[in-house]
């Protein structure tokens, strides 16, 4: 188990990323920046904290990609189950961090940031079974899509955006859980085959 954790760089990558996430959520709070919305043509107030999950999701991709392919593909131990546990652990930690910051500072966006880690992680897992490492682009593109085409003016965000929704938004919470569940199912079942360089 210890070797598996070291192979996944759990301490050097994941813990650092969770630390960055914690600091970002605490420091950024409800700070916003005005960015143009391509839908409404006006400026929309974007929370800096929307970006906070990106380091965690990127670290998860790096961690899951840091694998001893030749041995893990033919292992008798359930490596994918361990990986799923790692993903759930990271998501649970992000949720706990968000909840704790909310309790300490009263920051309403902290819990939503934890939820957003769950959603973007699910999105990452759904895409990475098909494209591998470039899947890290999916959460980043989602954030940019939310910022530039998710705002329809008057304080309204499109239903699909998830990220800017308040922490008590039930559909957003459901979407996050659904994305993670589907992502974990795909991660546990789909085997991506890459042709060897010389057959």
């Amino acid at each position: 188990m210890r070797w598996w954790l070291r192979a996944r760089r759990a301490l050097s990558v994941l813990l650092v990323a969770l630390g960055v996430f914690t600091a970002a959520v605490m420091v950024l709070g409800d700070a916003t920046v005005e960015l143009p919305s391509l839908l409404s043509g006006s400026a929309n107030p974007v929370l800096f904290v929307l970006m906070a999950p990106i380091p965690v999701v990127a670290a998860l991709e790096l961690s899951l990609g840091s694998r001893l392919v030749e041995a893990e593909e033919t292992a008798t131990r359930r490596v994918r189950a361990l990986d799923s546990g790692l993903v759930i652990g990271v998501c649970a930690t992000a949720l706990a961090v968000g909840g704790a910051i909310h309790l300490l500072t009263g920051n309403e966006h902290a819990v939503a940031s934890g939820r957003n880690v769950v959603f973007l992680t699910g999105l990452l897992l759904c895409v990475r079974v098909f494209v591998g490492q470039p899947a890290i682009a999916a959460p980043v593109l989602w954030v940019f899509a939310v910022i530039f085409v998710g705002y329809s003016g008057g304080g309204h965000w499109a239903f699909w955006t998830v990220l800017p929704k308040p922490s008590g938004d039930a559909p957003a919470a459901l979407a996050a859980m659904l994305a993670l569940t589907i992502g974990l199912l795909l991660h546990g079942t789909v085997r991506r085959t890459v042709a060897p360089s010389i057959t």
């Binding site: 210890r2 070797w3 598996w4 070291r6 192979a7 760089r9 050097s12 840091s66 694998r67 001893l68 392919v69 030749e70 041995a71 893990e72 593909e73 033919t74 292992a75 008798t76 131990r77 490596v79 085997r191 085959t193 042709a195 060897p196 360089s197 010389i198 057959t199």
Partner: protein, 244 residues
């Protein structure tokens, strides 16, 4: 303990031309060298035999065990062409991790990793980070990882690629010390170096078995005037030209 591929067809994409088509192959006991040009399907055959990929049609089994069975994966070791150098692990930890993944407990895997690295003459680099090893050293880590859990079938894809002559000698010594209970299938382009020391030779061309049989039978394809030490190369060339 017989590894067998029955009517195996495999293509990397559903719409692509199959790399292997209806292949029947029974791996004989002892050491078998798998020869063939680039693109012949050698790595694909080894991946199917390792259970890394499943055939689109047909089956792969070890005696009665299908390749998707956990016991199958425990009995088979696979060394691919590309060996991963784990950033955070030393050579010994990487080999031990492989043993742990194959079901060994931590203490046994740790002990066996030292033995396996010593067998491939890499004991001095056991505590070196895997990413700092040279290409040849990393391949020896790959060989050690294949040996660590005492698999009954070793599937080695180009094990001597990138090794210097001394390292290849060490590898041949490892092959020679394997007990009769271990079956080995290794692919190589190093015809002269390995084929003459193996028990059997299989030649794969365009996804079809061109020749499979004893090494003596294979060498008999060499012209009578073939230079000693080059007979395997001459036999392989003769077989290839017959096909062409």
């Amino acid at each position: 303990m017989t590894l067998q591929l029955r009517a195996c067809t495999y293509a990397y994409r559903p719409w692509a031309r199959p790399v292997l088509s209806g292949l029947d192959y029974r791996l004989p006991p002892g050491v078998t060298v798998l020869l063939g040009p680039n693109g012949a399907g050698k790595s694909t055959l080894l991946r199917l035999a390792a259970g890394v990929t499943r055939p689109r049609a047909g089956s792969v089994s070890l005696d009665d065990l299908p390749s998707q069975a956990r016991a199958y994966r425990g009995a088979v070791a696979w060394m691919p062409q590309h060996i991963t150098a784990m950033t955070a692990l030393t050579a010994r930890e990487q080999v031990a991790y492989t043993g742990w993944l194959k079901g060994m407990n931590r203490a046994d895997a740790w002990t066996a990793s030292a033995t396996a690295l010593a067998r491939v003459d890499l004991a001095d680099e056991a505590d070196t980070r895997a990413r700092r090893l040279s290409g040849g050293q990393l391949r020896r880590v790959g060989v050690a990882a294949a040996l660590v859990h005492g698999a009954r079938v070793l599937l080695l894809d180009e094990p001597t690629a990138g090794m210097d002559p001394r390292q290849r000698r060490v590898f041949r010594d490892v092959l020679a010390t394997l007990t009769d209970e271990v079956t080995v299938l290794l692919s190589t382009h190093d015809v002269a170096d390995l084929a003459e020391e193996s028990d059997h030779v299989t030649v794969l061309e365009a996804g079809r078995i061109r020749y499979t049989g004893s090494t003596e039978g294979f060498l008999s394809h060499a012209p009578a005037d073939a230079v000693a030490g080059r007979r395997a190369e001459a036999a392989y060339t003769a077989l290839s030209e017959t096909t062409a």
